[in-house]
Symmetry: C2
Subunit: 369 residues, 2 copies
């Protein structure tokens, strides 16, 4: 899932995202809550309609950003009081308000409000944090069950759609049925402790969700720890429900974790790296800002058939980056997303052939620069 | 002609420019000379190939930017010594070096090197400047005639095309025939003096060019002066050759000047204004950053069928602008360019119907906010 932080995958128009074959985007509740605000999005019919995106959307709970971006004021059993990174204003997130926000935004998949345990952390701290996340998971589910019919695209809800004479003309957006409901996923925590991860997984499954995420990873721990935790956790999550690994990762990572049974991943890496001139290619990573590409007429990735590689040279992309042209960000992002999607297509193909994704994993470990 | 300063119409990929129906782009020699450098572009096959743009390109002579952007060090009969606005390095432009640069860039239409007279200026200063421009026009033509076969896409030229195995796969770019030559246009100066404008026009026509530009306008003079000078100048330029008004203008302007007989115009207004949140619409100008649009579900221009107005609401564009998302710049620019192109299509249609463009001019003066 590419990350569309504030209702936009930075620099890429929605028709290009569709053309790339993107089926689901991630939106950040924390950012959307601050700007343009949940009530605004709700009144405009929800995120799909607001940003004109007819395909699936997942929103995170806001918890991760509260812990990482904002000036965190106070954490209690009830929830978190924090200051906006934009203007310093004070806000409160709890399982209930995080659900309320995500119902108002109206994504297809929403996430339970959790505490993302920092790494490293003392064993006692990890257990306490995990227990809090479990209590918050129950409260998240309870609030969601009581209010899930309040989605903006539910005709029974009390939202006011300002559909005047000139309403947005994307008929696909009108086909979202009022009978459709959001899916609330639970999140497993437990730090880097195998036993706690197992316990967190089992007790989260006990609460019962249509899908499960593994949270609290990619927070600074060594890569082998991430992998070991994923392996130790995934076996305790139902294989017939979506299993989502949050905040991962490199192309090598997504192949590896798909191979372990992970169904969904999200990461800012392909888009953020693109804006900093880092391209993922079949021949390894390329830092397009380097002078060596100034006269290079080759496409960014000779084995890629995306619209960027079909049309532009490394020399041109290097020039755009050096000249600080915003088109650099757009084109680099389109290529990286295309590369990630191609990678996932190869993974799916490999799985459908019954070979698992292991061979790809091997290809990747050789291709790494 | 949209302005693609350094080989990019800021924020808009080339396929979208094609889709919009843009037939010709303007590139700035001054900017391209500094970055990525003429020799670099020449070795990469010229601007068309470098930026993957198979349609027409016009480059200006660099004179206007030297006078307006750089730290101008010294103006002599020979040329201009100036300092780069990027790094302060010292450079020299003359009619000969400006032609050499433009031949190296390989645009379809290139411009004589002129001195853009400031406004206001003393009569004597205006005459001297005009005379200098005429002498430079002769030198520009002489150099061009002697070196015009050195374009990068001329097989007889000595440029080294690095066409390896993975050359850029846009076959349209390969169809530029070596027999095609650039067209060098002359530029009329003469400040706001009707007699000098007439004399400049006649003497420039005497030198002989396949097309003529009216320069030295849109440099701070009142709008009625611009119009009067255009009217006083155009009648002395051959009606059967392209007449190009440089640096103009608003949608109202381009209708008005087309009505006076102007065939070509260029302006940064639609693109620059877009990046600052100003949209041109059939209902007047809209500053999309205003809070009044935060909940507005209407398309930017209800009478526009561009890909932005077909898909996105004012509320979404306002959000993107307020959240500092680069997609705001891209989408606003696409709409404004579409609006300008629609305007020019209406002008052409009106001309083809034999009514001149006057009725449109009237429509415009009513629509102005």
């Amino acid at each position: 899932m590419p990350v569309g932080t504030v209702a936009s995958v930075k620099g890429v128009p929605q028709d290009v995202l569709e053309e790339l074959g993107i089926e689901i985007l991630l939106g950040n509740t924390y950012h959307l809550y601050l700007r343009p605000g949940v009530e605004q999005v709700r009144r405009l019919g929800g995120l799909h309609r607001f940003m004109s995106w007819p395909r699936a959307i997942l929103t995170d709970s806001g918890g991760f950003q509260v812990f990482s971006l904002s000036d965190l004021r106070k954490l209690t059993e009830e929830g978190v009081t924090f200051r906006s990174h934009l203007d310093g204003s004070s806000h409160f997130f709890s399982p209930e308000t995080a659900m309320e926000a995500q119902i108002g935004l109206g994504a297809d998949i929403i996430m339970a409000f959790d505490e993302c345990t920092e790494y490293p952390a003392e064993p006692e701290r990890v257990r306490e944090s995990m227990e809090l996340t479990l209590r918050w998971a129950e409260r998240s589910k309870r609030y969601f069950e009581e209010h899930k019919n309040e989605v903006p695209w539910n005709n029974n809800s009390n939202c006011q759609l300002h559909t005047g004479n000139s309403e947005i003309r994307n008929s696909k957006l009108e086909t979202r049925h009022s009978s459709e409901m959001q899916a609330l996923f639970g999140i497993v925590q437990g730090g880097s402790d195998f036993a706690l991860r197992k316990e967190s997984a089992e007790r989260t499954v006990e609460i019962g969700f249509p899908g499960y995420a593994i949270g609290g990873l990619s927070v600074g721990e060594p890569r082998h720890v991430t992998r070991e935790i994923v392996e130790a956790t995934i076996e305790h999550l139902p294989a017939d429900q979506p299993r989502y690994l949050m905040g991962v990762g490199t192309p090598e990572d997504i192949v590896e974790y798909a191979n372990l049974g992970i169904d969904m991943m999200d990461c800012v890496l392909p888009t953020r790296a693109a804006r900093h001139g880092l391209l993922f290619t079949s021949e390894g990573r390329i830092s397009i800002k380097q002078a060596q590409y100034a006269g290079d007429q080759n496409p960014p990735d000779p084995n890629c058939r995306c619209k960027v590689c079909s049309r532009y040279s490394r020399a041109y992309l290097r020039h755009l980056y050096a000249a600080n042209e915003i088109l650099a960000q757009t084109l680099n992002t389109i290529h990286n997303l295309s590369f990630y999607l191609d990678t996932m297509r190869a993974v799916r193909h490999s799985i459908s052939l019954g070979r698992g994704a292991r061979f790809l994993s091997e290809v990747w470990s050789q291709a790494k620069p």
